[in-house]
């Protein structure tokens, strides 16, 4: 069949597709939904109440016996999902119509940057699917940009992240808090980041039109600029083995495992890596990457939107930074020890 005939045939097939009977009651269904109270999560409310009671009881006990709320906060901090303290605190918000996006913190390392942000529904309403609409809001460019009105030439360039020497993906971090969802947006950079080099991270948020967010990059949005002023130390260790793991990069905020696992362009892949990793220090101490030290220990590590090189690099975001990396001499990965080479 000629391509055009095939098109006409497909078009006719779609036009002939019977409409579902549910469409007859669309208005009634939507009106009924609008009468329902806003969806909340009773389980979370209960958990919050229990946690609040526990804080009050424990706090009172600690005030008497263990030295007060400072210890309580430290104790809670071990279990709470808190980021490594090495993120620069930002706290800038952008109004995106239905939602407000707040950039909480940013961390630059030699080969990557990570942005922690959260999205809040401005009308206070929330459901599970809302948060996923916002990953498309931010567009990122490293380096000089145009004017605030037209920060990106033709508004297409920022979609080609690899042209800006970077690739990566966004990740849902905590799931939901009441009214907000938290995300980490993490990007690897092919050009090294260097403090004071004039590099700037620019986050662009589309404007809302008639109360509806855009699905693509449009002029007139809000541009936030963050100069690369402080770059965290990062140690890179080549893993000379026959397996897929090629290189390990360790910083106070994340651990990245570069692999030689290749995937087709435009395809989606999911991989589960659960390596046993121990950092070995010159003074004989060891630091084990266990579940308590990383986010999402209970879920699969997922690599999607694989970069231009087609390789997958799982990343673990740390809740607790490893000790001073200048004393790191070796790492043990799944039972095999690798020496840390001199860092350039």
């Amino acid at each position: 069949m000629e391509r055009k005939e095939e098109y006409l045939h497909m078009r006719q097939e779609e036009a002939d597709r019977p409409l579902p009977p549910e469409l007859n009651h669309l208005e009634a269904r939507v009106r009924a939904r609008a009468r329902q109270p806003v969806r909340r999560r009773p389980a979370r409310k209960l958990a919050f109440t229990v946690a609040l009671c526990a804080i009050l009881v424990l706090g009172t006990a600690m005030t008497w016996g263990l030295g007060g709320f400072g210890q309580l906060i430290r104790l809670m901090g071990q279990d709470a999902e808190q980021l490594s303290p090495y993120y620069q605190t930002i706290g800038q918000s952008v109004d995106c119509g239905e939602y407000q996006v707040t950039v909480d913190g940013i961390a630059f390392t030699t080969r990557s940057y990570t942005v922690l942000y959260h999205v809040t529904a401005t009308d206070g309403e929330w459901d599970e699917t809302q948060a996923w609409a916002h990953l498309g809001f931010s567009h990122i460019i490293l380096g000089p940009s145009g004017s605030p009105q037209t920060p990106f030439e033709s508004f297409i360039a920022p979609q080609s992240l690899e042209e800006n020497g970077q690739n990566g993906w966004g990740e849902w971090l905590y799931g939901e808090d009441p009214g907000s969802a938290y995300y980490l947006l993490t990007m690897s950079t092919t050009r090294p980041l260097e403090a004071g080099s004039g590099q700037t991270l620019q986050l662009y948020f589309n404007r809302a039109v008639d109360g509806v967010s855009a699905t693509d990059v449009t002029p007139g949005g809000t541009l936030l600029s963050f100069p690369v002023e402080h770059v965290l130390q990062e140690v890179t260790i080549p893993l000379n083995n026959d397996g897929p793991c090629q290189r390990l990069s360790i910083s106070p905020v994340s651990i990245v495992l570069d692999t030689s696992l290749n995937v087709e362009e435009w395809s989606e892949v999911a991989l589960e890596f659960r390596p046993e990793l121990t950092l070995l220090y010159s003074d004989g101490t060891e630091w084990v990457l266990d579940d308590e030290k990383q986010f999402g220990a209970d879920r699969m590590s997922m690599a999607r939107d694989v970069g231009d090189d087609g390789l997958i690099s799982p990343k673990w975001h740390l809740r607790q930074a490893p000790p001073d990396l200048s004393g790191l001499t070796a790492v043990r990965l799944d039972g095999v020890t690798y020496q840390v080479p001199p860092q350039t």
Binding site: R3, K4, E6, Y7, M10, R11, E14, A15, R17, L19, P20, E22, L23, L26, E27, R29, V30, R33, A34, E98, D123, T129, Q130, W132, A133, L135, G136, S154, F155, I156, Q159, W172, N206, V209, D210, G211, V212, S213, A214, T215, D216, T218, E264, E265, W266, S267, E268, V269, A270, L271, E272, R304
Partner: protein, 151 residues
Amino acid sequence: MTQEDYWAGVERLKARLWRLARLRLDSDADATDILDEAVFRGWQSCGQLRHPEYFDTWLTRILINECSRELRRRGREQPTDQLPETSWEEPDYLPLREAVARLPDKLRWVILLRYFSDYTLEETARALNLPRSTVHARQKKALELLKLDLT
């Protein structure tokens, strides 16, 4: 925009929107759910619509957003063993339906709106919130990839 106007517009547009969602999501049930969601969200925010003459493309844009959410949700929940082994081949060797399904999202929406839902170039640009020139460029690129000459 009054509520009466809103529901009259929905009534006029719902079949077209359902078919568009059905084409993108490849599921009758999901298309119905997404249309429900889009109409619900539209109803919540129709007071903010400053130009009622753009109602059709405005509601289409909401539907496209909802489809994107659904696709992200699917991507998040798709089990590893159901992931496609390959997803991008030379599209001219594929049946047209499959070739359209494997177009990058940016190009696919343009094709679905322009050639399966009969939106004009202007309407497509408004629904996608893009300049006309960008839509035109994407349309040209998509047709090239599909080896489809509709001039």
